[in-house]
Amino acid sequence: MQPFTYQRAQTPQEAAQAAQKHPHARFIAGGTNLLDLMKHQVETPPHLIDVNHIGLDKITSAGDGLRIGALVRNTDLAADVRIRRDYPVLSRALLAGASAQLRNKATTAGNLLQRTRCPYFYDTSKPCNKRKPGSGCSAIGGYERNLGILGVSDACIATHPSDMAVAMRVLDAQVETISPDGSQRTIPIADLHRLPGHTPHLETNLKPGELITHVTLPKPVGGRQTYIKVRDRASYAFAAVSMAAVQLPDGRFQFAFGGLAPKPWRVEGAQNAEQILAGARTTPQNAFKKTLASRLITSALQGVKLP
């Protein structure tokens, strides 16, 4: 780990401004991802801005929906009665993630911005375009089994590992931010993450120093909501494939997927596997993900109750 300086921000504004003052600084929330990356020196921020005390740890009503503070812990979010009642797919996705100890620390914003679990990304002895632009991708042609098949590029086939984000994507959540100049904006979750293209190191559309303050959920859509996570062991493993499915009261489906792509994957309006998995780029190791996703979609469409 590289030596770094540390400051504790008291307000969102202060945090964003501090980020402008310290180029390459990182916000630290639960630290469950950032600290690991720092220990491996995948990330080497010279300055950390602790955002745990900026007062964004509440879930409040916002119109017909909910407004979730960026620092609300995954455990608290999953347990909230309003979430469990009106957005059950989100609660289930959260509980499918990590372990109880990690969820107690992990925050809403941190979870959205956690980085890929590609093993070569963590291993600084190997080339990785995401870690070191232009150095090459070690995963392609190597251990690719759990890497992506949709939205990937020749430069990077990593996936976004979050469960929570998949549910938020199916629910059309929005991300609220504040920038160092004090300006605020709202980004649809669909636009938060970028696809790798030639620049896999650029993962989101956030600007330098832009801080996530809230995530808002629109009016509950009702219907039948499920979250299925398929993995190699019964708990405490990242998804091979996960699916958030909502069957709306009018019978139509909304799907979003984890484990397949560099961002929570959703094809707007798609009602079958073919549409959703169009353009999938598989390798012998990860071709199973396509089969698996397709089986999940088919069973959801048939009304099979999973798991």
């Binding site: 190699d232 019964a234 493993a237 099979v304």
Partner: protein, 735 residues
């Protein structure tokens, strides 16, 4: 004591303390955090500096330049060890590769430097500043590709690699019902809870090594060989060990680098490997390719059995003996077991819990299931039919010391409700889950090993046992205390057990499931001597003297042990030796696993629903610690079946998934309530304790039972472990 003939009645038979489920006597210290593990023995070396190991980032090649100047200039750094300043180091014969590379690099993450600093953080930071340039060369990293080049391994400690009885090929050719199947098992990591860790300090030319090691005498020996110092100058201490599973049978880089670092900076140094360093810097269980051929009569009697196994290792080091159990498990006149070894430039492959048998059952016991189906026989019945009470290679002249495989199978079948199993696969469903049952036999050899202990009685009548035996979480402290308490007729809390110091008598150590039986036998032997000494001192006839309730009694007289010991106390030491008992009797512990799985019809996920193991292992010294060993091993066996795999990057020659997030050991949610039944057995030919090894038995066979249950659930026969969902998906019916 020379143990050469079956044991007669002895005080252990009383079963007043032995055989009772006492809690571990070190349990409280462990769960309250007061047991000091190697890295935490700060009071012994309060001024220890911190060392962080730097591993090679190439697998095969040469170091061309090593620049430590930036690391040395970093804050807090006290010194950097590399091959340039380490002095002459030899490779221990028990290692495949050297523990410090340079200039040659033999495997990925082989240590190239140790950075020592005032704090851990400083050392870790400076470790990243060591610059090493390499000239890599292409190595061999793919077992399947090297299989054709595999050779007959040189005969090692386990004897010749091949065995042949009768004429397998022609018997197999004639057999009306045959199975010919090939299996693969991947590399696996021990992933014990405590990574390798040591603190080293030099007192003049004496080296003190506080470490985490299963075999104290080997540690002394190997350290002496590597550093070129005399064994008497080395003191090794390892009283608490956070698991080993074979990964700590030999000193590893943490210990040697700590010693080198301490010598360099003239101050104690502590080194712990990180979790990510464990898979590539240390040893692992090597991958295998196994071909099993079985030929049987229509009535199910095996006529021909062949088990051929291929594994790879660094520098032709040693083969994985996957055929071990096949030499003994079933009858059959025509047999062939071979092992071939390919040169691979991956990290050293070596013993991991039940080496050989753990992976060997994964193929043999699935092939038996295939055969049962072809014969239209129940798989339990097929195994019972082919039971044999003697070593089937040697014939009736070498009977088993005890063998209750059939009893295990039948009792298990009864308890599990095996008769309700539908032999036709893919018939039972529970919601989305396809349900199946599977069975497997279990055999793990019962090696016995010379072991020595000292027992003392003091003026208060309290007993102290000393031996360099280790407790790797298995319960050695407890069973040795129980043995001494039984022998000396005192309550358990009057016994103190001191282990794992190299100045204590040399024990068998912990490995190969010989530890409990052999070391308890050494305590037995030392107690026999102490009883003799006490009787002799009192002028009593030892034959007529009994030890009970803290007293010794003879011919109507009685004396408290405290008095008998006298003001100075009395001590005795003895070594148990097993002569040719292993030659005379085949010795193994046995069991049967029964598993119920659910396979998700949509996702291909396999989850265990029920599991039962029925075992026999001679006298059970402590049913609680024995059960813990069995359920732990069963959980590990489920890992081998469903999720554990070190993934080889065949381009770069290393294990990619080198952490616990990506190397998947089973978690609690994977293991349902585990039912363990231990059948009564007394094995008087194994040792005076009449016990057999139990620590590795549970891992043998359970993975095959899972495979067989998956087949019963789905009709899909999997032969490439582990059975992750991707292996099933293409074979499951459409949703």
């Amino acid at each position: 004591m020379k143990f050469t003939a079956p044991a007669g009645p002895n005080p252990i038979d009383q079963g007043k303390v032995i055989g009772h489920p006492h809690d571990r006597i070190d349990g409280r210290a462990k769960v309250t955090g007061t047991a000091a593990y190697a890295y935490e023995r700060n009071q012994l070396a309060p001024n220890a500096a911190y060392g962080v190991m730097v591993g090679s980032t190439i697998a095969t090649g040469k170091i061309t330049r090593i620049d430590t100047s930036r690391a040395e200039a970093a804050p807090g750094v006290l010194g950097v060890v590399t091959y340039k300043n380490a002095g002459k180091l030899r490779k221990a014969r028990s290692h495949a590769a050297r523990l410090l590379a340079g200039p040659q690099v033999e495997h990925f993450d082989q240590s190239v430097a140790l950075v020592v600093a005032e704090t851990f953080e400083q050392a870790r930071h400076a470790a990243k500043l060591v610059r090493v340039d390499y000239a890599p060369v292409q190595g061999r990293y793919d077992l399947a590709a090297e299989k054709a080049n595999a050779k007959v391994p040189k005969a090692g400690q386990f004897g010749p690699s091949d065995s042949q009885t009768g004429d397998f090929e022609s018997a197999f050719g004639r057999a009306p019902v045959t199975v010919d199947s090939t299996f693969t098992t991947p590399d696996q990591s021990h992933m014990m809870m405590e990574p390798h860790a040591s603190i080293a300090a030099w007192h003049g030319d004496q080296l003190l090594l506080w470490t985490s090691n299963q075999m104290i005498a080997w540690a002394v020996h190997d350290t002496s060989e590597i550093l070129g110092i005399r064994p008497e100058k080395i003191h090794v201490s390892s009283p608490f060990i956070g698991g080993g599973f074979g990964g700590k049978l030999w000193v590893r880089s943490d210990a040697i680098l700590a010693a080198l670092g301490a010598r360099l900076i003239k101050r104690p140094v502590k080194v712990a490997l990180t979790r990510a360093q464990v898979p590539n810097n240390t040893t692992h269980r090597p991958a295998t390719i196994q071909r099993v051929r079985l030929g049987a009569d229509p009535d199910g009697k095996l006529q021909a059995i062949a088990h051929e196994s291929w594994s790879g290792n660094l520098n032709s080091f040693r083969e994985e003996r996957a055929g071990s159990q096949t030499r003994l498990l079933y009858a059959g006149a025509n047999r062939l077991v071979t092992h071939r070894l390919a040169d691979l430039d991956l990290p050293e492959g070596n013993a991991m819990r039940a080496p050989g048998e753990a992976v060997g059952h994964l193929s043999l016991e699935v092939a038996m299931d295939e055969l049962a189906e072809k014969l239209n026989l129940d798989p339990v019945q097929l195994r019972v039919l082919n039971d044999v009470q003697y070593d089937p290679e040697k014939g009736p002249e070498r009977p088993f010391s005890s063998r209750k495989l059939v009893e295990c199978l039948q009792e298990g079948a009864r308890r599990f409700g095996w008769s309700k199993r539908n032999p036709k696969p893919a018939q039972i469903r529970d919601g989305n889950w396809l349900i199946g049952l599977g069975v497997s036999s279990a055999l793990r050899n019962n090696p016995t090993k010379e072991s020595e202990a000292r027992v003392r009685v003091d003026k208060h009548g309290k007993i102290t046992v000393e031996s360099d035996m280790t407790d790797i979480g298995t319960g050695s402290y407890t069973i040795l205390a129980q043995t001494a308490a039984e022998m000396m007729g005192v309550p358990l809390h009057h016994v103190t057990v001191k282990l794992a110091e190299s100045h204590y008598p040399v024990s068998c150590g912990s490995g190969g499931q010989f530890g409990g039986n052999s070391s308890a036998s050494s305590v037995y032997a030392a107690c026999v001597r102490l009883r003799q000494a006490l009787a002799h001192k009192a002028g009593w006839d030892i034959e007529a003297t009994t030890f009970e309730d803290g007293k010794m009694s003879c011919a109507g007289q009685s004396m408290p042990l405290a008095q008998a010991a006298g003001p100075k106390g009395l001590s005795a030491q003895d070594k148990i030796e097993f002569g040719d008992t292993q030659k005379k009797w085949a010795q193994s512990s046995f069991g049967a696993h029964f598993v119920e799985v659910g396979v998700h019809r949509v996702t291909g996920e396999t989850r265990i629903r029920r599991l039962l193991g029925v075992f026999t292992a001679g006298r059970i010294l402590n049913p609680k610690t024995a059960r813990s060993q069995l359920i732990g091993a069963m959980a590990k066996g489920i890992g081998a079946a469903l999720c554990e795999e070190l993934v080889v990057d065949k381009r770069h020659g290393y294990f990619v998934n080198h952490d616990l997030a990506e190397y998947h050991v089973p978690v609690h949610a994977d293991i349902p309530h585990t039912e363990v039944v231990i059948l009564e057995e007394i094995d008087d030919k194994s040792s005076p304790m009449k016990a057999k090894g139990v620590g590795e038995l549970g891992i043998c066979g359970i993975g095959a039972a899972v495979a067989n249950a998956i087949y019963n659930a789905t009709g899909i026969r999997l032969r490439d472990y582990p059975f992750t969902p991707d292996k099933l998906l293409d074979h499951l019916p459409p949703v």
